[in-house]
C-alpha cells in the first residue's frame, strides 16, 4: 500500500502535527503513532465508529470515513483536524451555558453585577482564540485545497488510466478511450494506479462522486470538468450522482470495482470481445430517461443483463468530445485513440469549444 505522503496528501490531524506543519518541522518522530499507516487507520476507525455509532457495523459502511484511496483518506484526516480545532471554541459553550444558567439563576446568592458589560482582557481572549484557530485552519485549508485539487494529477510511477464520463438521465457512461470500450453501471479501475477522469453531461447538471475514493465534481452540459482519484485497496465501492436531476436521481448509482492489474486486463479483454456496439441505436436508448438496468434490458431484447453492467466495445472515438461540444456524433468515425483527453494540464476549466 503506498503511503499517502508519497502523494503529498498527508494531513496530520493532531494539533502538534498541525503546528509542525505550519512551522515546517521536518522531524515528526513524536507523531509516528499518528502518521504510521497502521496507527492512523486504527485510530481513525475507532474515532469514526465512536462518532457515528454505526449500528450495522463499520466495515460495511460507505463514505470517506472508511477511505480506500489517498484522496479520501486525506479528506477524512482533514475532517478530524477541523473538528478537533473548532472544539476548542465549541466545547466551552456546551459546558458553560448550563453552568451559567444554574450558577446565576434568579434565586441564587451569586454575585450580581448588573452594570458590568465589558472587560478588555476577556475581549482579547474571545476575539483572539477564534482568530488563532481560524489562522491555523486557514493554513491547513490552503495547503489541502491545493494538494487535493480534483484537477491535480496524482503523483505515481504509473501512468494514469484515462476515463471519460458522460452523465446521462439517470446513469453514467464510462468510456475507456485507450481501450476503445465503454461500460454502464459499473466502473472498473486498477488498484494503485491513478485514474484521470474527464467528465461532461449529455443532459442537465449532475455531480460525480465515489466517496470511498474522493470527489465530487460537478458534471455539466457543454462543459468538461476533471477529477483525479486513486484506489489503494481492492474492493467494491458505491459511486453516484449527488445533484438532483429528476425522478430517477435517487437510483443513479454505480459500483466501482478496484481490481488488481491482472483482473483489470481480464476485464478489458472481456469487454472488448463481448461488448456490444455503441451505435446510434444504442445511443438513442441511452438518451432516454431510464437507469442502466433499463438500458441493459432494452439492449438485451428484454432479458436480464448477463453481467452487472452493460459493456460496449465499438464506439466512435470522438463520442465524448461530440457530446461535450454539442456537435453531431461521428458514428462512422474511426475508433482510433482520441487526443483531447490526453492533456492533464491544470486549468482546462472553460466551456468546451
Amino acid at each position: 500500500m503506498p503511503h499517502p505522503e508519497e502523494h503529498g496528501l498527508q494531513v496530520p490531524y493532531s494539533l502538534p502535527a498541525l503546528l509542525g506543519m505550519i512551522i515546517d518541522v521536518r522531524d515528526h518522530n513524536v507523531l509516528k503513532v499518528f502518521s504510521s499507516p497502521a496507527g492512523r487507520s486504527r485510530f481513525g476507525a475507532i474515532v469514526s465508529c465512536l462518532a457515528l455509532l454505526a449500528l450495522s457495523g463499520c466495515s460495511s459502511a460507505p463514505g470517506f470515513l472508511w477511505p480506500n484511496g489517498p484522496v479520501a483518506d486525506a479528506q477524512r484526516q482533514h475532517l478530524w483536524l477541523v473538528i478537533a480545532l473548532v472544539m476548542i471554541v465549541v466545547l466551552p459553550v456546551f459546558i458553560l451555558t448550563p453552568w451559567l444558567v444554574w450558577r446565576y439563576r434568579y434565586k441564587s446568592q451569586a454575585t450580581y453585577r448588573p452594570r458590568w458589560s465589558f472587560s478588555l482582557w476577556v475581549d482579547v481572549l474571545i476575539w483572539g482564540v477564534p482568530v488563532v484557530i481560524v489562522a491555523l485552519l486557514s493554513v491547513a485549508l490552503w495547503k489541502n485545497t491545493i494538494n487535493l485539487d480534483p484537477y491535480k494529477p496524482i503523483a505515481s510511477d504509473k501512468p494514469p488510466l484515462r476515463i471519460q464520463v458522460i452523465g446521462l438521465d439517470w446513469k453514467w457512461l464510462f468510456i475507456y478511450p485507450d481501450h476503445h470500450i465503454a461500460t454502464l453501471g459499473q466502473l472498473v479501475i486498477p488498484v494503485d494506479r491513478p485514474v484521470s477522469f474527464t467528465l461532461t453531461s449529455a443532459t442537465v447538471m449532475q455531480s460525480f462522486i465515489v466517496p470511498a475514493l474522493g470527489g465530487q465534481i460537478d458534471v455539466m452540459n457543454r462543459m468538461v470538468t476533471r477529477l483525479n482519484l486513486m484506489a489503494d485497496h481492492t474492493g467494491e465501492f458505491m459511486g453516484r450522482n449527488m445533484q438532483y436531476n429528476g425522478e430517477g436521481f435517487y437510483a443513479q448509482q454505480f459500483t466501482t470495482r478496484a481490481v488488481s492489474d491482472s483482473e483489470f486486463a481480464t476485464f478489458i479483454d472481456q469487454v472488448t470481445t463481448q461488448g456490444q456496439p455503441l451505435n446510434a441505436h444504442a445511443w438513442g436508448v441511452l438518451k432516454q430517461q431510464n437507469n442502466w438496468k433499463d438500458v441493459a434490458r432494452i439492449l438485451n431484447d428484454g432479458l436480464p443483463p448477463p453481467a452487472p453492467m452493460v459493456a460496449f466495445s465499438q464506439l466512435p472515438a470522438s463520442l465524448f468530445q461530440d457530446v461535450a461540444r454539442h456537435q453531431p456524433i461521428a458514428w462512422n468515425g474511426s475508433t482510433a485513440t482520441d487526443t483531447s483527453g490526453k492533456d492533464t494540464s491544470h486549468h482546462d476549466r472553460t466551456p468546451a469549444q
Binding site: L52, S56, P62, G63, Q75, L79, V82, I83, V86, V89, V93, F94, T97, V101, Y104, R105, Y106, Y112, P114, R115, W116, S117, F118, V122, D123, I126, P130, V131, V134, L137, A140, L141, T145, I146, L148, D149, P150, Y151, T203, V204, G215, Q216, I217, D218, M220, N221, R222, T225, R226, M238, R240, M242, Y244, G246, E247, F249, Y250, A251, H346, R349
Partner: protein, 701 residues
C-alpha cells in the same frame, strides 16, 4: 386537451387536479400519492372556507378590511406578516414530516412517487425560506423596530403595506399550487438547465418562479423601508450607538436585503425570459450558461443566510440582556461583529459551489473568507454567555429557546467550518450533511429566535402573556425534536447519502432515517404545543393580562408604553440620552412621566394599495403560470390603475387630536399608579400586570 379552450384556461387541463392520475391509472403508487395530494388540496380548500365562513359568521368583513387589510400601521402589518409565517410554517412542517416518513421506509422503496417527493422538497424549501422565515423576521422587525427607536411608524407606510400584499400573493400562489398542481421539482434553488423548458416544460417551475419573484420584490421594498426608517426616524438623542442591538441587526438585514434580493429577482427574471420568450440565458445550448444563474442565485443566497440569522441574533441579544437583568456584554463589539458579518456575507457566495471545477486557489480564498465569518459569530456566542455571567438569569420560555440556541448553534458553526473547507466539502457537498448543517443554523438559529421573539413580544402586541406551561413543552420538543431529526442527517451525509433522494439501497442508512422520523414527529408535537399555548392563553387572557406593558422588566423603549400600544406608539416622542433607554429611565425614576403638553398626532391614512397590488400581482403570477394571457393583462391593468389612482388620492394622512391622546395617556398613567409592582419571582404568574418593581442601583428586583 383543455377544458374550455386555450383562451380562457390557458394550458390548464384536468391534469391539474391532484387526483387525476389516481383516477386515470389506479395503480397502488398513484392511489397513495393521489390521496396524500388530494388530502392536502382538501385541507387548503377547507381552511379557506372555514376562515371565510368564520369572518362572515361573526360579521367581521368590515373590521378585517378597515382595521387590518388596508391598515398601514407598522404593528398591524407586522402581525399580519407573522400570521402568514405561522400558517406557512404549518404546511411546510407537514411536508417535512412526509419526507421523513418516506425516508424512514425508504430502503429500496417507500410510498411516495419521485415526482411527489420532488415537489415536497421544493415547496418545503421555498416556503420555509421565502414564506415562513422572511415574513416572520419582517413581521417582528416591523412590529418592534419603530418602537425601539422611538418612532411612530416606518418611513414608507404605504410601501410597507404593498410589501405585505406581495408576500401574501406569493404565499397564496404556493398554496393554490396544492389544488391546481403541480409545483416545481427543481429544489428551492431551481438550478437550470433542469428548470429550463427543455427539461421541465410544465407549470411547476413557473409557479416557483413567480412565487419567488413576488417575494423578492416584497423583501427589496422592505429592506429599503427599514433602512430609511432606521436612518431617518430615530427619536431625538437616539444615536446609532444607542440603538438596541436588535435595531442594529435590523439595519444590517435591511442593507443585505437591498443588495442581496435584486440578484435573485434578476435571476428569476432572466429564467422567465428563457421560459417564456425563447431567450437562452441559462439553457444548455445556443450560448446559454447555467453557471451565471448559479452565481446570481448565490449572490442573493449567501447574504440571504445572514438576512435570516441577523434579526434572530438581535432578538437573542435583547432576551439575554433582559432575562439576565443586566446590560448586554460587549455592545460595541457586537455591533462591529454584526457589521463584519454583513459585509463578509457578500464575499463568500462561491462556497456554495466549490465542486464546479474552478481553480483551487479561488476555492481556498473563498474557504478562508467563509471561515472568517466564524470569528465574529463565535465572539457573539461568548458575548451572550458573558451577558449571563454575574446576572440574575430567569429561565423563561424565550430564555430556554435562547440557551438551546447557544449550544445547538455552536454545533452548526462547527459543521459550517467543516463545509467551508473545500477539500472536505468535495465529499459532503449535496449530501445530507449539508441539509443537517443549514437546518442546524436555521432551526436553532433563526426559528428558535423567531419563536423566542414571538413569546417575548406577544404580551406587548396583545396585552396578555402566553401561558408558559405549553410554551415550555413546545420549546423542549423543538430542541429535542431538532436533535433527533437532524443529528442523524450529519451521520447520513458522512455515510455518503445525497440530499433530495427518494429512496436508498444501503441498510446502514435505515436506523438514522428512522431516528430522523421520530424527530420530525416530535417537532410536529412542538408545533401542536404552540397552538395549544395560544389557544389556552386566549382563553385565560383576563388573568394573563399585562396592561401596563412591561412584563419582563424590559430595557428598551417598546416596554415604556401600554400593552397593546396605542396606534401612535408614543404620546410625545421621547428624548434619549443613553443606551438601554427605558432601563436607565427606570433606574433614575424618570419613567412614566406625564409630559407638559400634548400635541395633535398626524398618522398616515389607510390605503387599499397593498391589497390591490397584492391581488393584482397574484392574478398576474397565476395567469403567467398557466398561460392565461387575459388574466395577465387584467392584472397588469389593475396594477396600472392602482398606481395612477393613488396619485389622485389627496387625503393621505389623518390626525389624532391632542385631547384624545391626553385622555388615553392619562388613563394609562392612572392604571400605573393603581397597579401593584411585582418582582421577577412572579414574572410568569397572573400577578404580573406588566409593572416591575423599580431597580435599585441598576439591580433588577
Amino acid at each position: 386537451m383543455t377544458l374550455f379552450g386555450a383562451p380562457l384556461l390557458g394550458r390548464m387541463t384536468l391534469d391539474a387536479l391532484p387526483f387525476r392520475d389516481m383516477v386515470q391509472h389506479p395503480t397502488r403508487e398513484n392511489i397513495v400519492n393521489g390521496l396524500i395530494a388530494s388530502g392536502a388540496a382538501l385541507m387548503v380548500i377547507l381552511a379557506a372556507i372555514t376562515v371565510l365562513g368564520l369572518i362572515t359568521w361573526y360579521g367581521k368583513w368590515k373590521t378585517l378590511w378597515c382595521d387590518w387589510l388596508t391598515s398601514v400601521d407598522h404593528k398591524k402589518i407586522g402581525i399580519m406578516f407573522i400570521v402568514i409565517a405561522l400558517a406557512m410554517l404549518a404546511r411546510a412542517l407537514v411536508e417535512a414530516f412526509f419526507m421523513r416518513a418516506q425516508q424512514a421506509v425508504g430502503l429500496d422503496g417507500g410510498f411516495l412517487s419521485p415526482e411527489h417527493y420532488g415537489q415536497l422538497f421544493t415547496t418545503h424549501g421555498t416556503i420555509m425560506i421565502f414564506f415562513m422565515a422572511m415574513p416572520f423576521l419582517t413581521g417582528i422587525i416591523n412590529y418592534v423596530m419603530p418602537m425601539q427607536i422611538g418612532a411612530r411608524d416606518v418611513s414608507f407606510p404605504v410601501m410597507n403595506s404593498i410589501s405585505l400584499g406581495l408576500t401574501a400573493a406569493g404565499a397564496a400562489l404556493a398554496m393554490i399550487s396544492l389544488v391546481l398542481a403541480p409545483f416545481s421539482t427543481g429544489g428551492w434553488t431551481g438550478y437550470p438547465p433542469f428548470t429550463e423548458l427543455a427539461a421541465n416544460p410544465g407549470p411547476g417551475v413557473d409557479y416557483w418562479l413567480w412565487a419567488i419573484t413576488l417575494s423578492t420584490l416584497s423583501s427589496t421594498m422592505t429592506g429599503i423601508n427599514f433602512a430609511v426608517t432606521l436612518y431617518k426616524k430615530r427619536a431625538p438623542g437616539m444615536g446609532l450607538m444607542r440603538m438596541p442591538l436588535f435595531c442594529w441587526t435590523a439595519l444590517c438585514t435591511s442593507i443585505l436585503m437591498i443588495f442581496g434580493m435584486p440578484p435573485l429577482t434578476v435571476a428569476t427574471g432572466l429564467l422567465a425570459l428563457d421560459r417564456y420568450l425563447d431567450f437562452h440565458m441559462f439553457t444548455a445550448d445556443l450560448g446559454g450558461n447555467m453557471m451565471n444563474y448559479i452565481n446570481l442565485f448565490w449572490a442573493f443566497g449567501h447574504p440571504e443566510v445572514y438576512i435570516l440569522i441577523l434579526p434572530a441574533f438581535g432578538i437573542y441579544s435583547e432576551i439575554f440582556s433582559t432575562f439576565s437583568g443586566k446590560r448586554l456584554y460587549g455592545y460595541t463589539a457586537l455591533v462591529i461583529a454584526t457589521m463584519a458579518i454583513a459585509v463578509l456575507s457578500f464575499t463568500v457566495w462561491l462556497h456554495h459551489f466549490f465542486t464546479m471545477g474552478q481553480s483551487a486557489h479561488i476555492n481556498a480564498v473563498f474557504g478562508i473568507a467563509t471561515m472568517l465569518i466564524g470569528i465574529p459569530t463565535g465572539v457573539k456566542i461568548y458575548d451572550w454567555m458573558l451577558t449571563m455571567y454575574r446576572g440574575r438569569v430567569r429561565l423563561t420560555v424565550p430564555m430556554l429557546y435562547a440557551c438551546g440556541f447557544l449550544i445547538l448553534f455552536s454545533i452548526g458553526g462547527l459543521s459550517g467550518i467543516i463545509l467551508a473547507t473545500p477539500s472536505i466539502d468535495y465529499q459532503i457537498h449535496n449530501s445530507l450533511f449539508l441539509v443537517a448543517h443549514f437546518h442546524n443554523m436555521l432551526i436553532p438559529g433563526l426559528l428558535f429566535g423567531m419563536l423566542a421573539g414571538y413569546t417575548y413580544w406577544f404580551p406587548k402586541a396583545f396585552g396578555f402573556q402566553l401561558a408558559p406551561r405549553w410554551g415550555y413543552r413546545a420549546a423542549w420538543s423543538w430542541i429535542i425534536g431538532f436533535m433527533l431529526a437532524f443529528f442523524p442527517l450529519y451521520a447520513l451525509g458522512l455515510l455518503g447519502m445525497p440530499r433530495r433522494a427518494l429512496s436508498f439501497f444501503n441498510p446502514t442508512y435505515l436506523p438514522w432515517t428512522i431516528s430522523a422520523l421520530l424527530g420530525a414527529v416530535l417537532i410536529l408535537f412542538a408545533f401542536f404545543g404552540l397552538i395549544m399555548q395560544l389557544w389556552q392563553s386566549i382563553k385565560q387572557r383576563a388573568s394573563l393580562a399585562v396592561p401596563i406593558g412591561d412584563p419582563w422588566d424590559g430595557r428598551s423603549l417598546e416596554w415604556a408604553m401600554p400593552s397593546p400600544p396605542p396606534e401612535y406608539n408614543f404620546p410625545v416622542l421621547p428624548s434619549i440620552n443613553s443606551h438601554d433607554a427605558f432601563a436607565r429611565q427606570k433606574g433614575s425614576g424618570q419613567h412614566y412621566e406625564t409630559p407638559e403638553y400634548y400635541e395633535d398626532i398626524v398618522l398616515p391614512a389607510n390605503t387599499a394599495m397593498g391589497a390591490a397590488l397584492g391581488g393584482a400581482g397574484f392574478l398576474m403570477a397565476f395567469g403567467l403560470t398557466w398561460h392565461m394571457w387575459w388574466l395577465v393583462i387584467l392584472g397588469a391593468v389593475a396594477v396600472l390603475v392602482s398606481l395612477v389612482g393613488r396619485g389622485f388620492v389627496r387625503q393621505t394622512t389623518r390626525t389624532i387630536p391632542a385631547a384624545v391622546v391626553e385622555n388615553q395617556h392619562r388613563a394609562w398613567m392612572n392604571a400605573v399608579l393603581e397597579t401593584t409592582p411585582i418582582t421577577r419571582a412572579d414574572e410568569q404568574t397572573p400577578a404580573n400586570q406588566g409593572l416591575p418593581v423599580s431597580p435599585r442601583e441598576g439591580a433588577v428586583q
